[in-house]
């Protein structure tokens, strides 16, 4: 009884926080604060995963999303923004249209969802050892196994890593941009940003 109440309380607490943070993500005019909002949303999602008894996924969520993607975004923002730069506010008509579209989408999904009987089967709940189950499923060659998608995903990540290096690497001197982007994008900083993927960029500053 109490456990259910705590669970519900946490759901609403985290849910409200998540929505608030999501709004920060899309509305805040300082990019880094928005990223922090995103980080909050993702961390909250990890909490949701734990509530949905998917602990491994929660760990992965924090490891990859918070530790990887968000940090990457922070880096990207640091390379391209300064503290006192505020992102421009889009035109009011764009905001109105986008808001209408988002709202209509939400209503449509909710309407569709309401029309479909989505009752949970009795005895819902993921088994305790689902971490092991995930590991086994990912390595399963059988008909319900995921070894092929898993390998493809690993290949995708490798390709993305290499592609990221190639795209973001410093080009030849004659291809240098006309605008170097102010204080934050000077040579040393850019090099720092590359070090995580491209150690070749680490030439000592002359």
């Amino acid at each position: 009884m109490i456990q259910a109440a705590v669970y519900t309380l946490l759901f609403y607490l985290f849910g409200g926080a998540t929505i608030a943070l999501a709004l920060v993500t899309v509305l805040n005019r300082r990019m880094l604060r928005a990223v922090m909002g995103l980080m909050g949303v993702l961390a909250m999602s990890a909490c949701f995963y734990i509530m949905l008894s998917a602990e491994f996924l929660a760990g992965v969520q924090i490891l990859v999303y918070v530790g990887g993607i968000v940090v990457l975004m922070v880096f990207a923002i640091m390379l391209t923004q300064t503290v006192d730069v505020l992102v421009e506010v889009p035109h009011w008509s764009r905001r109105a249209l986008a808001g209408a579209a988002a709202l209509a989408l939400l209503l449509a999904v909710a309407g569709l969802g309401a029309g479909v009987p989505l009752e949970a089967p009795a005895g819902a709940g993921i088994p305790e050892d689902n971490t092991v189950a995930i590991g086994k499923a990912l390595m399963d060659y059988g008909p319900r196994g995921y070894v092929l998608p898993f390998e493809i995903i690993s290949l995708l990540l490798l390709a993305a890593a290499i592609g990221g290096i190639v795209v973001a690497r410093k080009t030849a001197p004659e291809d240098q941009p006309l605008t170097s982007g102010g204080d934050l994008a000077d040579e040393g900083l850019l090099q720092t940003a590359h070090t995580q993927r491209d150690e070749e960029a680490w030439v000592p500053e002359s």
């Binding site: 986008a98 579209a101 988002a102 209509a104 989408l105 449509a108 999904v109 309407g111 569709l112």
Partner: protein, 659 residues
């Protein structure tokens, strides 16, 4: 059947000029113009030698006066449309093809030889010989064609090479215009030929199954194809085909033959398609001699002769051939009376003589094939003396650098060989015994008389007189009297390479009439024609002598008589001098009626309505595109907005349908 070597290898005769054409055109001409002329000439000479040997072998096989078979010594499959509808390419050897081969190779060889001198130093010397070889090949291919498709293809090749040769001086606007005129007019006529071929081929193929078994082909002979002349000329086919009615009371056969005759008339410059021929004299004079006098223009006559049984099966077509031929001969002769350009006079005389040949074919019958023989005979003799006339004229022009006979005069002493040979040719064309023209013209007149075409007979007789008159007119004006211009004073005899062909042709023109032609060339069984029919020969000779006398009266001495006579005729003279305004009529029809009344409105319609419609659709699409391209802002977010809107609409649709 065992043939002689040359019969078995008759394909060499057209093949030699083809090989020479390729060799000269591709390899020799760029290296040495001189050798181009030599190679081209010797190849034709070789072909001529082969043609003579072929004639000898053939008439050894089928002696004079006996039935002569058509041989196809070489043939191969060329176009296979479907089973039973195959076009072969091959060589047909029969009397008239041999005659044509002999004539073409002889005249062509002599013209080649003459050209070596005449064209000496001209730019495009090698090109000229290349074209000549191509022409000779085309003509020989036409001559030996065993089926109507091969003939049609070579026919067009002849047209192309004549176009190239007439427009040889392509930097001269008049030459370009003449070549275009010749090509367009003959093409226009060939359209009729093509439709005729299609009609013949369509019905020939349609009737093939029923008719072919009745045709007895000897064992081992090539199977007949629907386009073969042997099949098209067979009485079985003609009987089956001739019974199909078409319209206006004409049988389908008549329609087909008239269409084919359109092509023949175009090539042979029958009225009213004659207008290209006088203008075609813009080409080099040897070309005129070769193409527009001796060989190419007789292709129409040859085609008619080749399909003679088919024409004979259709009385209407044959009548049209006869009367158009007769009218053309008269019409051209009258015009020739007034022309001042020596080549033009000769061109109109060519027209006149071609009219004779056509008329001779027209007055002939399957049973009474005297005219057929006469036509071929006249073709044979005319080729020699007309080539001689042109080459002689060429020598004169070469000497005095003008075409106007009134700029010449008194050349008899300056150019004795040319003068003599020209006189021989003039006598021959006038039909004076014992020159070649006498015999062949005599036969034509006899054929007209025996065929009970009385009107045509008298027309032909009158034309014979006119011919003598205008031929001697140019003869007298050119060679007699005083020098009327500076060029004529400094004229001198042509070199040997030019006079040699003249002499050879002069001999041929003199003696060709003694060939017992009727024994070799005849339709069906040989009909013995008892020598010279004095009932015909006497009036003809008298008419010719009258013409010569009149001509001498007017032109032998410098006098005002001709001018007075011209004044006497007044307007009539001017009409004739302007060639009856046929060209102007054509111009009026093409320019005023076709161009202004039909083409311009159509062009306006096309430009404003059709193009306008197309442009309107293009404009509307472009405007729509440019207007709708404003939607394409290039900003992904805007696209995303549309996408989201679309998704929402879709979701609501699903919702509306399912819930």
């Amino acid at each position: 059947m065992e043939h002689g070597f040359v019969i078995a290898h008759a394909w060499l005769i057209p093949a030699l000029p083809l090989v020479s054409f390729a060799l000269v055109g591709l390899f020799i001409r760029p290296l040495s113009a001189r050798w181009a002329g030599i190679v081209a000439t010797s190849s034709i000479g070789l072909a001529a030698a082969l043609a003579y040997t072929l004639a000898w072998e053939y008439w050894t096989l089928f002696p004079a006066g006996q039935h002569a078979e058509s041989l196809v010594p070489w043939s191969m499959e060329w176009l296979r449309y479907k089973e039973g509808l195959v076009v072969n390419i091959g060589v047909l050897v029969d009397p008239i093809s041999i005659v044509l081969m002999v004539v073409v190779t002889t005249v062509s060889g002599l013209v080649h030889l003459y050209s070596i001198g005449y064209m000496h130093g001209e730019t495009g010397y090698g090109r000229y010989f290349t074209y000549l070889n191509l022409f000779t090949f085309s003509m020989l291919g036409l001559v030996v064609a065993p089926n109507i498709v091969q003939m049609y293809v070579c026919w067009e090749l002849v047209g192309v090479s004549s176009f190239l040769l007439i427009g040889f001086y392509y930097d001269r606007p008049s030459a370009v215009a003449a070549s275009k005129k010749a090509f367009i007019v003959t093409r226009f006529a060939d359209l009729g030929f093509m439709v005729g071929v299609l009609v013949l081929g369509y019905w020939g193929y349609g009737l093939f199954e029923t008719v072919a078994p009745a045709l007895a082909t000897e064992p081992g002979a090539l199977p007949l194809q629907p386009f073969d002349f042997r099949y098209l000329n067979s009485p079985e086919f003609l009987a089956a085909f001739g019974s199909i009615p078409a319209f206006f009371g004409l049988s389908l056969l008549s329609v087909a033959m008239l269409l084919v005759y359109t092509g023949a008339a175009g090539k042979s410059a029958m009225f009213p398609l004659h207008i290209w021929l006088p203008d075609a004299m813009e080409g080099p004079t040897p070309v005129s001699a070769l193409i527009h006098a001796a060989t190419m223009v007789v292709a129409g006559v040859y085609l008619t002769a080749r399909l003679f049984p088919a024409f004979a099966a259709s009385e209407d077509a044959l009548l049209a051939v006869a009367y158009i031929g007769g009218f053309t001969s008269l019409f051209a002769a009258v015009i020739a009376l007034t022309q001042d350009d020596i080549k033009r006079v000769l061109a109109f005389s060519t027209l006149s003589q071609l009219g004779y040949m056509m008329m001779a074919l027209g007055v002939s019958q399957m049973a009474e094939s005297l005219g057929y023989t006469a036509s071929m005979f006249h073709l044979f003799t005319h080729a020699f003396f007309k080539a001689l006339l042109f080459l002689g004229a060429g020598a004169v022009i070469h000497a005095v650098h003008t075409n106007d006979i009134w700029q010449m005069g008194g050349l008899a002493r300056k150019m004795p060989i040319t003068h003599l040979t020209f006189l021989v040719a003039t006598l021959a064309i006038s039909g004076i015994w014992p020159f070649a023209g006498f015999f062949s013209k005599d036969e034509i007149l006899a054929a007209a008389l025996h065929g009970h075409f009385t009107v045509l007979f008298y027309v032909a007789l009158f034309v014979a007189g006119l011919t003598a008159f205008y031929m001697f007119r140019i003869y007298f004006v050119t060679f007699w009297g005083a020098h009327r211009a500076h060029g004529a004073e400094h004229a001198h005899e042509a070199p040997l390479v030019m006079t040699l062909p003249l002499m050879i042709l002069g001999v041929l023109s003199a003696v060709a009439g003694f060939v017992p032609f009727g024994q070799y060339v005849h339709m069906g069984e040989h009909v013995e024609h008892g020598g010279i029919d004095f009932a015909v020969a006497l009036p003809a000779t008298l008419a010719a002598l009258a013409g010569i006398g009149l001509s001498a009266f007017f032109y032998a001495t410098a006098s005002e008589r001709a001018a007075k006579a011209a004044r006497f005729f007044g307007r009539a003279y001017r009409v004739v001098k302007q060639k009856f305004y046929v060209d102007e009529l054509y111009l009026f029809v093409t320019k005023q009626i076709i161009f202004h009344l039909i083409a311009r409105p159509i062009a306006w319609f096309d430009r404003h309505v059709v193009d306008g419609g197309v442009n309107l659709s293009g404009w509307s699409i472009r405007t729509l595109g440019s207007e709708s391209s404003r939607l394409q802002t290039g900003q992904v977010q805007t696209y995303g907005l549309w996408f989201a809107g679309g998704s929402v609409v879709l979701l609501f649709l699903i919702w509306a349908v399912h819930v």
